[in-house]
């Protein structure tokens, strides 16, 4: 695994992932004729069969990133850049060059998406079965075979296939509907699954249960998964690699173990410290002062500098590129070494017990 970035000339550019499922280059979403942007020059690769956790606060541009992967940015937003999908076999596909019909085929069959709020993704007057059948028909798939696969998926998700298929959406609990939606999104056996806050409306126990099931599904069906959330600790248990978003761009990308043990961007470190958890001393959980910026009037230089305790002159003037923390971890921060030394993680003591700092994070 490697980090992929960004402007030409960056050293990180040369260490591309060997077998990417999706390559995203300089993706940018603008509104108001370019006056404000909600996704700013984002470049990253999704490795085949990896789970990439994209973490950001509300309004950081993370949902825009998800929509970009399917070229479904809501109007009047304009998406530019290059998004290349690599099927397991066959020629790479330029997503942004596809016709409407080609795009319709790509979505669901190759790249599928699960949104937050399963209830609004289902038609309330149709049985769950009808949703599966219509999806299969719309994509010219064999319905009988597809329904067998649907049953298998539902069982994988600890659901009783017959009961769920015969139910109307409102007859199922929130957790069941969300799992049925995950099964529906996978019924055409897609290569890539993009999930935008798929569990946010559920209670924690159901969220964790679903994450555990996703891990099993991901391994069983060889899918690449992009999981978008504001909840860093939640996704840490599932993601192979994490990308932290702040003010419409990625500020740090690293394998999960490295990120949790050695986060380098001050924002990442402060975000890790701000989340309540069960083990850290209570006094050391601290909120991040200030607010994240709106798409207009972004701060000059590093967008995080107004909230950053380590900001100095250069942070206000120029925008930091990725700095190599290791060959797999990059942070857009001039002062990442100071951040690691001065912003202590409130669970650091517990990390040492496990000896995970650095080390090999791959399976």
């Amino acid at each position: 695994m490697a980090i992929e970035e960004v402007d030409a000339g960056s050293e990180l550019d040369e260490r591309s992932i060997v077998d990417p499922a999706i390559e995203i280059r300089n993706a940018k979403v603008t509104y108001d004729e370019g006056e404000s942007y909600v996704l700013d020059d984002v470049s990253i690769d999704l490795d085949r069969n990896e789970v990439l956790g994209v973490v950001g606060e509300s309004g950081s541009g993370k949902s825009m990133f998800a929509s970009s992967l399917l070229d479904s940015v809501p109007d009047p937003g304009v998406l530019t850049g290059r998004i290349t999908y690599h099927p397991r076999d066959g020629e790479p596909i330029e997503v942004l060059d596809l016709s409407k019909e080609e795009l319709r085929e790509l979505r669901w069959e190759e790249i599928s998406m699960v949104f937050q709020g399963a209830m609004s993704s289902f038609n309330p007057v149709l049985k769950v079965r009808t949703h599966f059948e219509e999806t299969l028909e719309a994509h010219d798939a064999n319905v009988a075979e597809g329904m067998d696969f649907a049953r298998e998926l539902l069982s994988d998700l600890y659901l009783d296939p017959d009961r769920v298929l015969d139910a109307y959406p409102h007859e199922l609990s929130g957790g069941m509907t969300q799992r049925a939606l995950i099964a529906l999104s996978m019924v055409l056996n897609p290569e890539v699954l993009v999930m935008d806050e798929p569990t946010a409306a559920l209670d924690l126990l159901m969220q964790r249960s679903i994450l555990q099931l996703l891990e099993d599904l991901q391994a069983k069906y060889d899918i690449s998964l992009v999981f978008i959330t504001h909840d860093l600790p939640l996704i840490a248990a599932l993601a192979d690699r994490m990308a932290i978003m702040y003010a419409f761009r990625f500020v740090e990308v690293a394998p999960t173990q490295d990120l949790v043990a050695n986060a380098a961007h001050p924002y990442t470190r402060m975000l890790l410290n701000s989340t309540p958890n069960l083990d850290a001393p209570l006094a050391e959980m601290k909120p991040i002062e200030g607010q994240s910026p709106a798409p207009i009037n972004l701060p000059s230089g590093c967008a995080f500098h107004p909230r950053c305790p380590l900001a100095e002159e250069q942070c206000m003037q120029s925008e930091p590129d990725y700095h190599d923390v290791s060959d797999r971890q990059g942070a857009r921060c001039f002062r990442w070494e100071a951040a690691q030394a001065q912003i202590l993680l409130n669970y650091e003591d517990m990390l040492e017990d496990r000896g995970t700092s650095g080390g090999d994070a791959d399976e």
Binding site: M176, S274, T275, Q291, Y347
Partner: protein
């Protein structure tokens, strides 16, 4: 509990059953009873925090609403400063407390602040409304002053600017601060915070909880805090030296001081909630410590211990007998595993 006076609120053996009558088009005349809350007793003291945790549908919101008089219990009693609030309501009480006093003293903040604020009113007007009720003697300027100082206190600066905005012009966190201010203006004894921080970003939750804790000390209120997240429950409750109550299918499975519930849970279900709580320092969480993912139907809850259908430790004894509550100082648990001599240990494990 720390105080030795009368509890502000005292719930005794509270039971809330909802009748679900068959609809016009359904056959049969079987009335289904949803047992939302069954036999729960909790005391809330002055300046106390009682947190209820559990899954969706475990009855924590119903219990919270019953505690503050928004829901009439079908059994047991809810007492405010020693007087049954429903007797007060029905005029059967000799206490010199009116129903209005009770309702004023017990306030609520909802999960979704956006929908609890009138979208067509400015913040100033929204906050003036409760003030009109409790302090009709205040003039316009005095009212405005109180509102502004409270807005400042909850961190909304500059206050005059915020007071003139409409709810949609505020972020989710700011809306929740307005909802909190509105509850505080009534000078309440108890505020029910029903998933009050679940809708704000994870990174802002600590800030919101800190604010609520500061205000709790300043305004002398108690909180009933409802959450499905054990780490938030721990943060909020431990800071206030309160108790966490773990609910399962309408019953209290375990209740005790925050750190004890988190660090040495005794009920297998509390352990499950602990497993579900994301933890940065321990990523290898392993399999779900439960035999089934979905909660059984509360219309027909399992016999014996209600958790036996999912419990990883369940044995045959759990199917038939309802576990009593075993108490150890401030820590109470409803599980046979607390009794070393119970038949439980001799009976075969449930596997299915």
């Amino acid at each position: 509990m720390s105080d030795d006076g009368t509890p502000v609120l005292s719930l005794e053996d509270v039971e809330v059953h909802f009748e679900d009558k068959p609809g016009l088009l359904e056959f049969g005349d079987e009335t289904e009873v949803v047992r939302a809350v069954d036999g729960v007793s909790i005391d809330v003291m002055e300046n106390d925090v009682v947190t209820l945790v559990g899954e969706s549908g475990c009855g924590k919101t119903t219990l919270g609403k019953t505690a503050i008089g928004l829901q009439r219990p079908t059994g047991g009693s809810v007492k405010y400063r020693g007087h049954d609030i429903w007797d007060i309501r029905d005029g059967n009480s000799d206490a010199d407390i009116t129903w209005r006093d009770v309702r004023t003293s017990l306030q609520i903040i909802h999960q979704d602040p956006g929908s609890s604020l009138n979208p067509n009113r400015r913040i100033q007007t929204i906050l003036a409304e409760p003030l009109k009720q409790v302090r009709p003697d205040l003039g316009r300027t005095e009212k405005r002053e109180r509102i502004l100082s409270l807005l400042e206190r909850v961190g909304m600066n500059p206050a005059p600017d915020f007071a003139d905005r409409y709810p949609h012009q505020l972020s989710g966190g700011e809306q929740q601060r307005v909802a909190l201010s509105r509850a505080l203006l009534m000078n309440p004894d108890v505020i029910l915070a029903d998933e009050a921080i679940s809708a704000v970003d994870v990174s802002l939750r600590v800030e919101m909880m800190d604010l609520m804790l500061e205000l709790q000390a300043e305004f002398d209120t108690s909180f009933i805090f409802i959450s499905h997240d054990l780490s938030n429950a721990r943060y909020f409750t431990a800071h206030a030296d309160g108790q966490i109550g773990v609910m399962y299918l309408g019953e209290l499975a375990e209740i005790g001081p925050a750190e004890e519930i988190v660090n040495s849970p005794k009920h297998p279900y509390t352990n499950v909630l602990r497993w579900a709580t994301p933890d940065l320092s321990l990523q290898q969480t392993g399999e779900i410590p439960m035999r089934k993912i979905d909660v059984p139907d509360p219309v027909d809850p399992p016999s014996g211990c209600r958790f036996h259908t999912r419990c990883p430790e369940a044995r045959e004894a759990c199917q038939t007998e309802h576990p009593p509550t075993y108490s150890d100082d401030r820590h109470h648990v409803a599980c046979f595993r607390e009794n070393e001599d119970h038949d439980y240990w001799e009976s075969p494990k449930l596997t299915d």
